[in-house]
């Protein structure tokens, strides 16, 4: 009896080759994506590292425009201020909206709200900048005392509009994950609805809300286009006043990248590096928090 070879031939062999090709393509695709990330991180890091020193973080731009030195302290402070304003607006609004959809709204209305939040999420950020400009920069806003000029409040509002759908959607998802029996137990004991939401549902979802907000902050911190119209012309010193226009890291990168001063180019790369690090750290932290809160609710993968 001749030995039967187990090696595939003909059609079987072709199928194996196709399989191998497909697998290689998938590996190559992933490798390409990671290679691009590595190249970007490497370019930014290697070009910017020279400008990163203590002065970079605590000083403002130097007055010698063709010389070196100075830093981006005003931009760092400005970005913090903008994000603080954005969170102060988007977090309560987003969480309250999510509570409405998950606790109070009839199904049809809840679907509508979700739909329009998704539509809002898809709006180009530059359009949102134009919207806030027309509403709060070009005209004076009665009562609130802002308007007539660019300000951190206007810029923060534009960022808040961008953050809102993200915060609302992630909060909705987390609220939906709260076990029904918790709510029912609380209500069965005679606890009112609002107490149930505030003392039972929200604390349980706290981790998820934090995660969603952190991800939204990571997104908003890097936005440039909306700030072009609402908070772009600002001074060179550290300014904590939200009714003033303030510097911001993304706009500083944008301006320095086209500046006449090669030292500012290096600072643009350095600022880009800091921004990436910030966004990466917040994204990773929020992912870790998400994993932790999922495990707590017994849903870890």
């Amino acid at each position: 009896m001749s030995e039967i070879s187990l090696k595939a031939t003909g059609r079987g062999r072709r199928r194996l080759l196709v399989n191998r090709a497909a697998e290689s393509t998938a590996v190559l695709a992933a490798a390409a994506a990671i290679a691009v990330l590595a190249v970007v991180l490497w370019s930014v890091g290697s070009r910017g590292i020279g400008a990163i020193n203590v002065d970079f973080f605590i000083k403002g731009p130097s007055s010698d425009i063709f010389g070196g030195g100075g830093g981006i302290a005003p931009a760092i402070v400005g970005s913090l201020l903008l994000v603080a304003v954005a969170v102060a607006i988007a977090l309560p609004t987003g969480v309250l909206t999510a509570i409405y959809v998950s606790e109070f709204a009839p199904k049809a209305i809840g679907r509508q709200v979700r739909l329009w939040l998704d539509v809002l999420n898809g709006f180009p950020s530059i359009v949102i900048g134009i919207f806030v400009f027309a509403l709060a920069v070009k005209v004076k806003v009665p009562v609130l005392g802002i308007g007539g000029r660019q300000s951190a409040i206007a810029g923060g509002s534009a960022l808040a509009v961008i953050m809102l759908p993200l915060v609302a959607r992630s909060t909705m998802e987390v609220l939906a994950l709260v076990p029904v029996h918790l709510r029912e137990a609380s209500l069965a004991l005679g606890v009112s609805k609002w107490q149930t939401v505030l003392r039972v549902v929200l604390p349980t979802s706290f981790g998820g809300i934090l995660t969603g907000t952190t991800l939204a902050v990571a997104r908003a911190a890097g936005e440039t286009a909306p700030l072009l119209f609402t908070c772009a012309i600002a001074g060179q010193i550290v300014d904590w006043n939200p009714t003033h226009s303030v510097q911001s890291i993304p706009l500083t990168i944008f301006e320095y990248s086209e500046s006449a001063n090669p030292a500012q180019h290096q600072q643009a790369w350095a600022a880009a590096f800091i921004l990436i690090v910030f966004v990466l750290v917040t994204s990773l932290t929020s992912r870790l928090l998400l994993e932790r809160s999922r495990k707590k609710l017994g849903l870890s993968r």
């Binding site: 190559l28 109070f104 918790l182 609002w194 921004l275 966004v279």
Partner: protein
């Protein structure tokens, strides 16, 4: 699993305070939701209002006239619309297959140990802000394209008009397409990964058990069952590409009229608005720029609704009509 339980000491009777509290919470949350939806309408309204002087001056002809001259107040959107569509579709043409491949890699093919780290790395690409990608684009990618990538493609495919012309210009439509591909890739691939992971294991193992190779299993079981979701993911990526202003404006060359070749400079709606808005010289130019923004808004709105439609149908199909 630690179970959270009802805190001790909560009131157990239904008092006036409770009724008021319920009402207040309902009112607050309903108002917030109403605000969120109102913002959408307000945005559309304000953009339309800002564009009105230009709409009145140019009517719908704005869409197919092709000039942009601030000196003589002659404005038309045609090549910006074409540029937007070409760059965005070009980007998803490249990123969609790559995203599917990466999604498959992360869900099916990679050893379980490296799935999370690699997945995190791909997601990190999404974390890079667009201004940084733009900065990297001008100083690293564009010269690379001009000196190597574009010339390489031109040497092989130069007989096709879109790859014709002189490939030595750094800031081109092609550079913009590459930048947009990099930006849409993480979004689409992470959604694809979630979709592929969601396919029931029994289906996959059934196919494997019947003797299919991994690729055949993917082709016949996984992909068809999540086809709708993949389409939705691609459309969402498209929406992101359509609206991208900063990274595109830095590498696209800011020039109209468009040439046939991708290796020549061009422009998109978002890029032109970002570039010219701050320094606009006449009120009609400002209105024309907002008119452009309105067109972009309509395009992204339609794209978004299309994605929602596909998702709805996909959900319906996946849950068996339930």
């Amino acid at each position: 699993m630690e179970a959270a339980s009802v805190p001790a000491g909560l009131p157990r009777t239904r008092r006036l305070g409770d009724r008021i509290g319920d009402g207040v919470l309902y009112g607050l949350t309903a108002f917030a939701a109403f605000l969120a939806v109102l913002v959408v309408a307000a945005i559309v309204w304000r953009v339309a209002a800002g564009a009105w002087p230009a709409i009145r001056a140019f009517h719908l002809g704005f869409l197919w006239h092709n000039q942009w001259n601030a000196v003589f107040d002659e404005f038309g959107a045609r090549d910006f619309i074409i540029g937007t569509v070409v760059t965005s579709f070009g980007a998803i043409l490249l990123s969609a297959p790559l995203s599917i491949a990466i999604g498959l890699f992360l869900s099916e093919l990679a050893p379980p140990a490296i799935r999370t780290p690699i997945g995190s790395l791909v997601d990190m690409l999404a974390a890079v802000p667009s201004v940084v990608i733009g900065l990297w684009g001008i100083y690293v990618l564009a010269p690379f394209n001009a000196q190597h990538l574009q010339t390489f493609i031109h040497s092989i495919l130069g007989w096709i008009p879109i790859f014709g012309g002189d490939p030595h210009t750094p800031t081109t439509m092609f550079s913009a397409i590459v930048v947009l591909t990099i930006m849409t890739l993480p979004i689409t691939s992470s959604i694809c990964r979630e979709l592929f992971l969601g396919v029931p294991e029994e289906l996959e193992e059934g196919a494997l058990g019947l003797g299919a190779t991994r690729w055949e299993m993917v082709r016949t079981v996984v992909v068809p069952s999540v086809r709708g979701g993949v389409v939705a993911a691609v459309i969402l990526g498209l929406g992101r590409a359509l609206g991208e202003a900063i990274a595109v404006t830095q590498v696209i060359g800011n020039f109209i009229p468009l040439h046939a070749s991708l290796f020549s400079p061009g422009d998109t709606i978002a890029s032109r608005v970002a570039n010219q808005y701050q320094g606009a010289t006449t009120n009609l130019q400002i209105a024309a720029l907002i008119y452009l923004a309105l067109i972009l808004l309509v395009i992204t709105f339609i794209t978004n609704l299309a994605a929602q439609r596909v998702i709805k149908r996909f959900e319906f199909q996946r849950t068996g009509g339930g």
